[in-house]
């Protein structure tokens, strides 16, 4: 199943999607009404998830996404969720259909899977796909993605920094029916629950995912009932066309040419040196080729990623660069040809470990593309931000052999822009998950949050300053605690734009018995009672040379940053 650069996932013209429609006869208002309906259905899915799921990662941090696709798997409706998920979900059903052809799908069945090869990203992100039939005709899919806090494997939380292959990471779930004729398929559920460390939460989370897809099915049927199935299908095709036209118009606004940029992960090459992500962007009329082939070979840690994630990241960056409002759907991808090289860390083969690449390497693709375009359209970009999950995952072994797991992501300062300072303490680009409140952590885990502050002065200087990062300190109250760190931007700081200064990098410090030492950004280690782990989130890069802003004036500039543009 290797993907070669000469057969990119997205041809420039794009495959025709949806049933052929008489475009001229389609009422534009009906299209708009259906667009509202699709977005509402996806938002409803996420609402069902956050309100009824078990894991704090889902209910507090919101590490989940919901989408509706057309019958061919082209994304047409999405919730306000996590961009990296949503970008990959454009492929999750399309690739599924290659191994489970539509003819094999039946009403009331839904499939669960997490394989990278099937439009996947990392094994923690478990998908439930429900084909939606109306009067016997397959018209759409409801797709729920949730980051499960543990999917088995070597280390609780399923992030093994030194993994040499995917088998060490987690259970691999090929597409299997989790509901049959809308009844829970108990044997499959049991099989999965026996391979994860927190089966109780996991079951609740999965039931919530199934309920979410069921809710979307109901809404899609209502839309078809009201407007007619043919009109519904035609409207989805039109929505793709509208976004395609918008993206083409945006690309036309960028001068033709070849633009190159690069950025680096903190390490990952065999010799421990920073692994390169390279983007070569060729603008030709209203199409763009984003060639990521120049990126490093497969890395020695879990920062490899799937070609779908590379595409998700590139599509996000293209959307930002367009500077336009458009519905994010499969049509917006049509003018883009995104190329990855087999053997590179962006297409390392399906057995490579990929847990971290999902949120680390993907972010570096965005950064490399920003660097490529920074001289052409700097006003549409921002300087470097906390482009990492900033993850600390704590797992406490319980007497009964179970685990209690806390998955904590961390923000930093946003990169500055041409017209404003960066915002402090925020997630950027491909992620948008939240922290877990200290009061919730302390009531549920053997951890005390000793402090959470803004990391003053960490934003890079510039005509506009980068936002400040954060500091959060965790005291271990349990006998032992298994810690995973998954943080990039610890060595290579968030970049400044247009001669702005970089922000301060991420930093993780462990204090034990009165001694402090810095922890690596990607590691698995054991903590013990009394340990204090302090994470410092990066400051954002500055924008523009810091003209005459020195000394005390920094304070003023920061104050302005906290308030946004005047």
């Amino acid at each position: 199943m290797s993907l070669r650069p000469d057969t990119p996932l997205d041809g420039p013209a794009g495959a025709p999607m949806g049933a052929p429609a008489d475009a001229g006869a389609l009422d534009p208002f009906v299209v708009e009404v259906i667009r509202h309906g699709l977005s509402a259905a996806a938002e409803e899915m996420s609402l069902v998830m956050t309100r009824s799921a078990r894991s704090p990662l889902l209910r507090e941090a919101g590490d989940l996404s919901s989408a509706i696709t057309d019958a061919e798997g082209g994304l047409v409706g999405q919730g306000k969720d996590i961009p990296v998920h949503l970008g990959a979900m454009a492929y999750t059903v399309r690739e599924l259909l290659k191994v489970c052809p539509a003819a094999t799908l039946r009403e009331g069945d839904s499939l669960i899977y997490n394989l990278g090869a099937l439009g996947g990203n990392h094994l923690n992100d478990v998908k439930v796909a429900r084909p939606v039939f109306v009067e016997g005709r397959l018209v759409a899919f409801a797709l729920s993605l949730a980051h499960w806090p543990d999917v088995g494997g070597t280390w609780p939380g399923s992030y093994l920094a030194a993994a040499v292959d995917t088998f060490q990471e987690a259970i691999r779930i090929p597409p299997v029916p989790i509901t049959l004729a809308d009844e829970l398929n108990r044997p499959v559920l049991d099989f999965i629950l026996h391979n994860v460390r927190d089966p109780v939460s996991c079951e609740g989370d999965l039931l919530a995912q199934i309920a979410a897809t069921r809710a979307a099915e109901r809404r899609i049927r209502e839309l078809c009932g009201r407007h007619g199935t043919g009109v519904f299908v035609a409207a989805m095709a039109r929505l793709h066309d509208l976004s395609e036209a918008e993206m083409r118009a945006a690309i036309r606004g960028i001068p033709d040419g070849v633009y190159e940029g690069e950025d680096f992960l903190d390490d990952g090459n065999a010799d421990g040196s920073p692994a390169r992500i390279h983007a070569r962007i060729e603008i030709r009329g209203d199409e763009a080729v984003i060639d990521l082939s120049g990126s490093a070979d497969r890395v020695t840690n879990f920062c490899n990623t799937t070609p779908f994630i590379a595409r998700s990241a590139a599509a996000y960056a293209a959307r930002i660069m367009s500077g336009r409002e458009m519905q994010q759907n499969a049509g917006a991808l049509r003018p883009l040809t995104i190329v990855t090289r087999p053997g590179s860390m962006l297409e390392p083969g399906w057995k490579a470990p990929v847990a971290a690449g999902n949120h680390e390497t993907s972010m570096r693709v965005v950064d490399a593309m920003f660097r490529a375009m920074e001289r052409v359209i700097p006003e549409r970009l921002s300087a470097g931000g906390p482009a990492t999950s900033g993850l600390l995952a704590f797992a406490e072994p319980l007497p009964d052999g179970g685990w209690r797991m806390l998955y904590e992501v961390h923000a930093g300062g946003e990169g500055a822009r041409h017209d404003r300072d960066g915002c402090p303490a925020v997630r950027v680009h491909l992620t948008n998950t939240s922290n877990t409140p200290a009061e919730v952590i302390e009531a549920n885990y053997a951890i005390r949050v000793e402090r959470q502050s803004v990391r003053r002065g960490s934003g890079g200087a510039g005509r506009h300053r980068g936002g400040d990062g954060i500091v959060r300190a965790y005291r271990v109250l349990a006998e032992t605690m298994w810690l995973t760190t998954c943080v990039e931007r610890t060595r290579i700081p968030p970049f400044g734009l247009a001669r702005g200064a970089p922000g301060a990098p991420f930093r993780i410090v462990l204090e034990r018995d009165g001694e402090a030492r810095e922890l690596p950004g990607k590691a698995n280690l054991l903590l013990r009672r009394g340990d204090l782990v302090t994470l410092e989130g990066s400051g954002g890069g500055g924008y523009g040379a810091p003209e005459g802003i020195h000394g005390d004036a920094h304070g003023d500039a920061r104050g302005a940053g906290a308030r946004g543009p005047a």
Partner: protein
């Protein structure tokens, strides 16, 4: 149309930007439209009693919007009701209230009870015209507002700041060395010297309103109480988090407490002035966002309860009407100039929520679950490459929709209504200004041209898109509560609600539309018909299995006493007070709790069964996991003595006539139909108008303040109380 602008200043809770209309012009300048069309004197003829008998006292409800104030006066003895609409005066709110009383022909001495709902607090919070506030937090957590939850508001936009800046700047946040743990134990005592350090710091800042939000104060508020006691000796305004939002989650609790602290100086100033100018004692009341009334002293201490009180009042009246009409499920549809507010009512009770975003910041307190969307009559319609959209930008009251002929050139929903003939070109704009249908057509023309269709077809299309946006709001409020919205009746009020209701009902598949008698002043009426009530909420976190029944009963009794005390203090006899209990239930591993009513003495098995059933209804499944009572709400209330009334319109009805109006036909076709224009009085009465079951659409039913569109395929009939019912024709 008038009341469309009256509601114009309500906030859009989740959107980043909120379009706010210009304040009503002062009387010396160009008068607001409603004042031109319906001079204050029109609703208050001099012939009415100017010097009332001292025993002849009235109850008054007012809804004070950003632009207009609606008032309704009800005479308890005769049942007479008067309504009026006057300009709000944002700079002089009390004066506007007194003018409103004069507008219904009453002197202040004729008022027995005065209940008001107001957007004043919400507007101040949204517009951030707020006095300086200091925040006292546990040391190490003083940046809580700046950090928030890390999330950005827009996924795919870098041009807008990703988060709202903190309401309290870092220089006014103080870290207090103390610490309470989640189980209520104290791990770092609060020293006297630390309190002194705080007071010295505060004196330097000169700030007069302080929010105190210490870690885990919901588990034990002792430290917060200590701090508050010391602060109250030196500053006039102190808000403590365990009173405002006694729940875990430090950011949300601090944010809510800061909102209260910011609102306090504003609210206290005007409530104090109101008390002086209208000395009614316990008769002076404020409508609060949980759908009941509180006396002024309670509102001064906790002005946050007034946030969104205007929309809540309309919902409250709707709940009352739903009970009286015996409709088990009702969706309210309150369409104003800038926003539309919707809420679900099940079995006569409005749905509640405990969180809302104001200006991008969280507010947590029990409130009616009113969902606002940024689409109202004045919302501007734009055609972008991505499609057609409505709002959130609004033409407001100045310049207003193009058809008002006051300089507006951009197309609005109201202009679409004008093009379709739904607005009366003669009566609506009175003698001085004519409804400018030509201007409306010109405003819509570019959109029609771009889409290659006629202006009329574009107008119909715009209404269908607006209906889709509103249907999405209806969807949200029903889905969150596990209700199939199509089983509901749509209760339409506000300026635009009755005009759009049937179209929305068609879009969403609703079978019945109800337009209440006092539809244009329904929120003001809601202030009078609501119960007098107090709500207590506590975090308990008790496992349901093995619950200590006696201990639980003692805690509930304590909460009942706390909720009842203010009612008794306001002269309500204890025997007339009803209490209701709601458990906030969750599975042990969940965080969001599901409200489940229960009766005392508690039967844990019944509560568990009710919770499983409710969870299944909401989310499609239930499990055998252990259940937790996360918290409990106890409400004490005395039912209102004022019923729903039928107001005197204050001006004579216009004779019936006809006009050519445009309606959607089958598919995407359009029909131009000669349409009956009827005064609303014709449909009122036990026989429903002509005695033949009402009037068949197409028809337009008018009264002095609102326009009800009855499209083809719908019938309208009235009842004796003056309510209108629209249903689909059998044929």
């Amino acid at each position: 149309m008038m009341a469309q602008t009256a509601a114009a200043a309500r906030p859009v809770p989740r959107g980043g930007r909120t379009a706010l209309p210009a304040a009503a012009a002062p009387s010396g300048g160009r008068a607001p439209l409603a004042a031109i069309l319906h001079p204050v004197s029109a609703a208050a003829p001099a012939a009415r009693q100017e010097t009332p008998d001292l025993q002849d006292l009235w109850d008054i409800g007012t809804d004070i919007g950003g632009t207009f104030t609606d008032i309704i006066a009800v005479h308890p003895g005769s049942g007479e009701a008067r309504i009026a609409k006057v300009p709000s005066r944002p700079a002089e709110p009390v004066r506007a209230m007194l003018e409103a009383i004069a507008a219904v022909g009453l002197p202040p001495t004729a008022v027995r009870r005065f209940v008001h709902g107001t957007t004043r607090v919400t507007n101040a919070l949204v517009e951030e015209r707020l006095p300086a506030v200091a925040l006292v937090a546990t040391a190490g957590f003083e940046d809580v507002l700046e950090i928030g939850r890390y999330r950005r508001r827009e996924l795919y936009r870098l041009d807008v700041p990703p988060k709202a800046p903190p309401l309290v700047p870092p220089a006014l946040c103080f870290g207090l060395r103390e610490r309470t743990e989640h189980d209520g134990s104290v791990s770092q005592a609060l020293e006297e010297a630390e309190l002194d350090r705080l007071l010295a710091w505060l004196a330097d800042t000169g700030v007069r309103s302080v929010a105190v939000s210490l870690l885990h104060s919901y588990a034990d508020p002792a430290h917060e109480r200590l701090v508050a006691e010391r602060l109250r000796a030196v500053v006039p305004y102190v808000s403590v988090s365990h009173e405002i939002n006694p729940e875990a989650r430090e950011y949300e609790r601090a944010s809510s407490t800061v909102f209260n602290a910011a609102a306090m100086p504003i609210a206290v100033a005007y409530l104090t002035e109101l008390e002086e100018r209208l000395p009614l004692g316990a008769g002076l009341q404020v409508f609060h966002s949980a759908g009941a009334m509180v006396p002024v002293p309670a509102a001064k201490r906790r002005p946050l309860v007034m946030a969104a009180s205007g929309p809540a009042a309309g919902v409250s009246a709707s709940a009352r009407l739903a009970r009286e009409l015996g409709r088990p499920r009702v969706l309210t549809f309150d369409m104003g100039g800038t926003t539309t507010d919707v809420c679900l009512i099940v079995d006569g009770a409005a749905a509640m929520t405990d969180s809302r975003m104001i200006g991008g910041r969280p507010l947590r307190q029990p409130m009616l679950a009113v969902d606002s969307i940024g689409a109202g009559g004045g919302s501007i319609v734009t055609l972008g490459p991505g499609g057609l959209s409505v709002g959130p930008e609004s033409a407001g009251s100045e310049p207003g929709p193009a058809c008002y002929g006051r300089g507006g050139t951009r197309p609005t929903i109201t202009d679409a209504n004008a093009v379709l003939g739904y607005l009366d070109p003669e009566a609506l704009l009175g003698d001085t200004i004519r409804l400018d249908v030509g201007a409306a057509r010109r405003a819509l023309a570019p959109i029609a041209e771009a889409l290659g269709m006629g202006v009329e077809a574009a107008a119909l299309g715009i209404l269908s898109v607006a209906n889709a946006a509103m249907a999405r709001a209806l969807r949200r409020v029903t889905v969150e509560r596990g209700v199939d919205g199509r089983d509901c009746a749509l209760l339409a009020f506000g300026g635009g609600g009755p005009m759009h209701a049937a179209g929305l009902a068609d879009t969403y598949g609703l079978a019945e539309v109800i337009v209440p008698a006092a539809s244009s002043a329904f929120s003001a009426l809601g202030c009078l018909t609501a119960d007098f009530a107090f709500l207590e909420q506590r975090t308990l976190r008790l496992r349901l299995d093995g619950l200590d029944a006696a201990g639980f009963a003692a805690r509930i009794a304590g909460m009942e006493a706390a909720a009842t005390a203010p009612l008794i203090a306001n002269g309500v006899p204890a025997a007339g007070i009803e209490t209701a209990h709601v458990a906030l239930m969750r599975y042990a591993a969940q965080s969001e709790a599901t409200p489940v009513p229960f009766a005392m003495p508690l039967d844990p098995a019944v509560l568990a069964a009710d919770f499983h059933a409710r969870h299944r209804q909401l989310y499609g499944y239930a499990t055998a996991e252990p259940c937790v009572i996360e918290g409990v709400r106890v409400q004490a209330r005395r039912p209102s003595g004022t019923g729903l009334v039928r107001p005197d319109a204050g001006r004579p009805p216009r004779p019936a006539r006809t006009r050519r109006c445009l309606f959607a036909g089958a598919g995407t076709t359009m029909r131009a139909l000669e349409t009956a224009i009827l005064p609303r009085e014709r449909l009122a009465g036990p026989e429903g108008g002509n005695g033949d079951g009402g009037v068949a659409g197409p028809a337009i039913v008018e009264d002095a303040w609102s326009t009800v569109v009855v499209p083809p395929g719908w019938r309208a009939r009235g009842d004796a109380a003056g309510n209108l019912f629209l249903t689909r024709s059998a044929a």
